[in-house]
């Protein structure tokens, strides 16, 4: 990344503490899950519960390091972000996930395609959606029909390629 291209902003509260809290949370989860596993160490002396506990402990150490660094350096710098494009992409992925089986691969993936294009500034859905669906159909044709990859079919695929 070219740091000089991106506007930086100081956050004195520091994301370091939030990250530390997340790491500690993940660490605690691992330690707890490791502890409730009945001992099956056998001859090794190390059972299936010991490794999660160890990794959980290391995550706690990293969390403490983050706190220490956060205190010393007064937080992490990060570039200003635009939320709308991010939401467009996540929305596109969610739509694809939900609609994949009911509507089939091409329509669901065409929606993802159009949403991603929108995230990058091409908001003309009347153009991007048909292009996306057409592109996805071509992919379906090549990979499902010719190369035998199993892709979920909807009414559009059945209409064009038969069942």
């Amino acid at each position: 990344m070219n740091g000089s291209d991106i506007a930086f902003e100081r956050r004195p509260d520091g994301a370091a503490f939030i990250i530390a809290a997340l790491l500690a949370g993940l660490g605690s989860l691992l330690i707890w899950q490791g502890m409730i596993i009945p001992d099956k160490g056998g001859y090794a002396g190390i059972g299936s519960g010991d490794v999660p506990v160890f990794i959980g402990g290391c995550l706690w150490l990293l969390a403490l390091t983050h706190v220490w660094k956060g205190l010393r350096h007064g937080g992490t710098r990060f570039p200003r972000q635009q939320p709308v494009p991010v939401l467009f992409i996540i929305g596109g992925l969610a739509l694809q996930m939900i609609l994949l089986h009911p509507l089939g691969f091409s329509i669901a993936s065409g929606l993802l395609f159009a949403c991603t294009a929108a995230a990058f500034g091409r908001r003309n859905f009347a153009l991007s959606l048909p292009v996306g669906i057409g592109f996805a159909l071509a992919i379906y044709g090549v990979f499902d029909q010719l190369l035998k990859l199993n892709l979920p079919a909807g009414f559009l695929e059945t209409l064009i390629f038969g069942s």
Partner: protein
């Protein structure tokens, strides 16, 4: 570029002969193991005999096949084109793993083959016969490390039964689970472990090449291709046979189930399958329909008893 690619693919596709129903067979084990071998043998014969035009094998390894079974039960529901290979090992694994998915969650179609479990050491091992091995176990069970398949699988069960029959505490065996046949075999050949236990078929090519020595087989009768004694004739009351089966997805209609059963019947009675069994050294124990369902229920009950007995299931 796109045009050349497409036309080449089209040409290649046209060159393929047209066949019946396509199948995906899930082998719930890593490549190289017994179920993987069964799935690939089915693939080969089903394609060669024209039962199916395109058969794909997918490996979903782990934990005695329950990982693959769970994934299969959830993702293949209602899809008659998907099959899963399974077997005796899976029955045990479902119990030891306390698996939320059991064989009741899929549609068992038929039992295909059975195979003896073999006990073998590297050719350079000082152990010459099964009695010597058992004496070593009696002296110090922890010093005898066993390389075999998944924890709680047929290999593990056989070791437990052998220990029990020889008067060694079955919970004290030092059993090391490998998820694929290839890695376990390498560990035995490289003298990393004391002894290996696996399907006889996996050991035979090595025995033939003189790199492994088979000490015993687990079935009632001796096994074709090796002169190793059975555990019974060596004085240990152990009789285990590792059978393998094929199951279809849950939620099939009666017609779908009948169609799949018919395809598997066609497979099992084909000349290609008989030849395949011959080369692989598998015994034909084909059983389908209500007889198989009854046999399966019986096996599940018996396995539960054995596993509880040797301390693998509480």
């Amino acid at each position: 570029m796109k045009h050349t690619l497409l036309s080449v693919s089209f040409a290649a596709a046209l060159a393929m002969p047209a066949f019946a129903e396509d199948y995906v067979i899930i082998a719930p084990a890593a490549p190289g193991g017994g179920w993987d071998g069964t799935a690939r043998a089915m693939q080969e014969v089903m394609q060669a005999e024209g039962i199916s035009g395109s058969v794909q094998v997918q490996n979903v390894p782990g934990a005695g096949g329950t990982v693959g079974l769970a994934q299969f039960a959830s993702s293949a529901a209602g899809d008659a084109s998907q099959l899963i290979v399974g077997g005796y090992v899976m029955v045990g694994a479902i119990l030891t793993n306390d698996s939320p998915v059991s064989l009741a969650d899929v549609t068992p179609i038929a039992r295909l083959t059975g195979e003896a479990v073999g006990i073998a050491v590297s050719a350079s091992s000082p152990i010459q016969n099964i009695t010597e091995l058992v004496e070593m176990m009696k002296a110090d069970p922890g010093a005898v490390s066993w390389a075999g398949g998944s924890a709680g699988g047929v290999d593990h069960i056989t070791v437990g039964l052998l220990a029990k029959a020889a008067g060694v505490d079955p919970t004290s065996i030092n059993y090391i689970a490998f998820s694929g046949g290839g890695e376990a075999l390498a560990a035995i050949l490289g003298n990393q472990v004391t002894v290996g236990i696996s399907g006889v078929g996996e050991f035979l090519p090595q025995v033939e090449a003189g790199t492994l020595r088979m000490l015993a087989v687990s079935t009632e009768e001796r096994w074709v291709g090796t002169d190793a004694p059975t555990l019974m004739e060596s004085g240990y009351d152990v009789n285990v046979q590792n059978w393998r089966m094929v199951a279809a997805a849950p939620g099939l209609s009666d017609e779908q189930k009948a169609a799949v059963t018919a395809d598997i019947d066609k497979l099992a009675t084909s000349a290609g399958w008989k030849a395949m069994l011959e080369t692989k050294g598998w015994a034909d124990t084909y059983l389908s329909g209500p007889e198989f369902d009854a046999q399966l229920a019986e096996d599940i009950e018996a396995t539960t008893a054995i596993l509880t007995d040797i301390g693998l299931v509480q």
